[in-house]
Amino acid sequence: MAISGTSTGWPRVARYAVLTLVAALVLFPVYVMVVGAFKSGGQVLDDPLLPTSVSFDTLRDAWSAGKLGRALVNSTVVAVLVTVAQVITAVLSAYAFAYLRFPAKNVVFAVFLATLLVPFEATVVVNRSTIQDLGWLNSYQGLALPFLATAFGTFLVRQVFMQLPKELREASQMDGLGHVGFLREVAVPLARPTIGALALFSFLSTWNQYLWPTVVSTDDDWNTVQSGLRALSQAQIDKPNLVIAAGTVIVALPISVVLLVFQRQLVRGLTAGAVKG
């Protein structure tokens, strides 16, 4: 956009000023929290904006009080489980929609579409009792099961499959490849960028689940990092202190690293619905 970028002098200074101000506002809460996390208990209200000391005491307290080690393991297991399952179910169902002829295809498609309209928050009550009936409260199955398939993932992958030239399927037919072979050898490798974006998106949204783990985990040992953080903060609520900041830092850190590494894929996943293909 070379032409819209012709501003010089004042407009440019103003632009930098506004951006810097907003950036500072965006980073401010992060800064305060990080500074707080490295203080030790006595310094709660002393110079909250200045890193007067670097102490790991508070972080250590938060780690043990919130059982955050166990929570990190739980979150990782559940997020990996859900991510792998979502990718598999999405690829399989997307292939059926994109490449196979079968009766009532439109009806099945409409069913998938309909599930997109149902807010998860409206189904939690019944889903909890389903998990309870299965005896899976406080378990990895209970935490992961409802999210093993999504219509979003199916549509995302279906869209890439449908954008592959149809001659590729025909060429593979001539080469003697069946559907399963084509899926494995051609369709999936070519859809890899989108599948990567879907995987990252699934991982992040599972990792960040809040309501569901607080509902199906009644035992501290089955907290994810989110429900663990909640438990930590609820325990301190009467006399809030730096432990909350420390716990938040611990929970935020791994996902920030993931984000820094996979920024491009995430953008692709987030904008998949926005830019018409």
């Binding site: 956009m1 070379a2 819209s4 501003s7 440019r12 632009r15 506004v18 907003v22 950036a23 965006v26 980073l27 809460p29 305060v32 929290m33 707080g36 179910t89 399989l92 169902s93 196979l100 002829r101 079968f102 009766p103 069913v111 998938f112 309209l117 149902v118 807010p119 928050e121 409206a122 189904t123 939690v124 009550v125 019944v126 009792s129 389903t130 093993l148 398939a149 219509a151 559907h179 399963v180 960040n208 809040y210 309501l211 607080t214 989110q226 953080l229 903060s233 809030p240 909350i244 938040t248 935020a252 996902i255 984000l259 995430l266 987030l270 904008t271 619905g273 926005a274 830019v275 018409k276």
Partner: protein
């Protein structure tokens, strides 16, 4: 007699069934069944164990809808959406437009504004809790609250705004990324031809950027509205639905710790179904009202 062709067709059907079954089972058991079950539970009253329910007639939906608690929570939810969605959109688009130049340092700003996308609702909320809570809060000192006065989160008139600010902050990354992608999908020739036609910066923005950004804005607005209506963690961690129910949203009415209906599966389902209906209507209204004015590129 079955021909080879018929056998092949059958095999294709079988394969389709095989590929679709995992997704259909999950979506059926955890999305469609609960919706149906909630609709049916919604006209029943249940005891605390949730095992014994009795029919209370379909007008229970009407009763719930008219109830003071529901109306109040609906009001809170709407106000929350009206606080977060427009401000979030304007902020996201404005920042995306400001950053969308080939100037030195823009990638740094881009990273900063995108960064909140990965923060979970718990992290974002507790960050703001740490700022706003009077006993530890940094901001509390500056904006009048002290350890003795209640602070923004504990004042009826400011609590919802405080939660909204945290939510806008948390959503900024998403809105910014989507708006940036939308801007980058606008062909440069459109700006060039507007420039050749003598359009100034503002004219180009209002006549090229805004209309071409239509589909993106619609998408972001539908997503943000959905998020606002489904917000739960912010309320849970920042205010606990209080003070005096001034931040009890619809989801918090169903699941929150101060929920008066938490022991009644029937009433919970009633509210959940109404939440679904309200959100559905709202999404349709947004899509319909914007669709006529939206320009889909090419």
């Amino acid at each position: 007699m079955t021909t080879a062709r018929q056998r092949r067709t059958r095999r294709e059907w079988g394969l389709a069934a095989l590929l679709l079954t995992p997704s259909l089972v999950i979506l059926g058991v955890f999305v469609l069944y609960p919706l149906g079950r909630a609709i049916s539970l919604g006209h029943q009253r249940c005891d605390a164990t949730g095992t014994r329910c009795r029919d209370n007639g379909w007008d229970q939906y009407l009763d719930v809808f008219r109830s003071r608690e529901f109306q109040r929570a609906l009001g809170v939810t709407f106000r929350f959406a009206l606080m977060t969605v427009p401000i979030g959109l304007v902020l996201g688009v404005a920042l995306a437009v400001l950053v969308d130049k080939q100037l030195r340092g823009m990638s740094v700003y881009r990273t900063i504004f995108s960064s909140t996308v990965a923060t979970s609702v718990a992290v974002a909320s507790l960050m703001w809790f740490f700022l706003l809570e009077p006993s530890v809060g940094v901001l509390a000192d500056w904006i009048g609250g002290t350890a003795k006065t209640p602070g923004l989160l504990r004042d009826d008139s400011t609590a919802l705004w405080a939660v909204a600010v945290s939510s806008i902050w948390a959503n900024l990354g998403f809105t910014f990324i989507v708006a940036t992608a939308g801007l980058q999908s606008i062909p440069a020739e459109l700006y060039e031809s507007a420039y050749v036609d003598g359009a100034g910066g503002w004219t180009r923005f209002s006549n090229v950027t805004v209309p071409m950004l239509g589909p993106t804005l619609l998408f972001a607005s539908v997503v943000l509205t959905g998020r606002a209506f489904q917000s739960y963690g912010e309320f849970d961690l920042l205010t606990g639905g209080g003070p005096n129910g001034s931040t009890t949203s619809l989801t918090y009415l169903i699941y929150g710790k101060n929920s008066t209906i938490k022991s009644d599966l029937g009433l919970q389902s009633s509210v959940a179904v109404l939440l679904f209906v309200v959100l559905l209507v709202l999404s349709l209204v947004q899509v319909r009202s914007v669709e006529r004015r939206v320009h889909y590129g090419n």
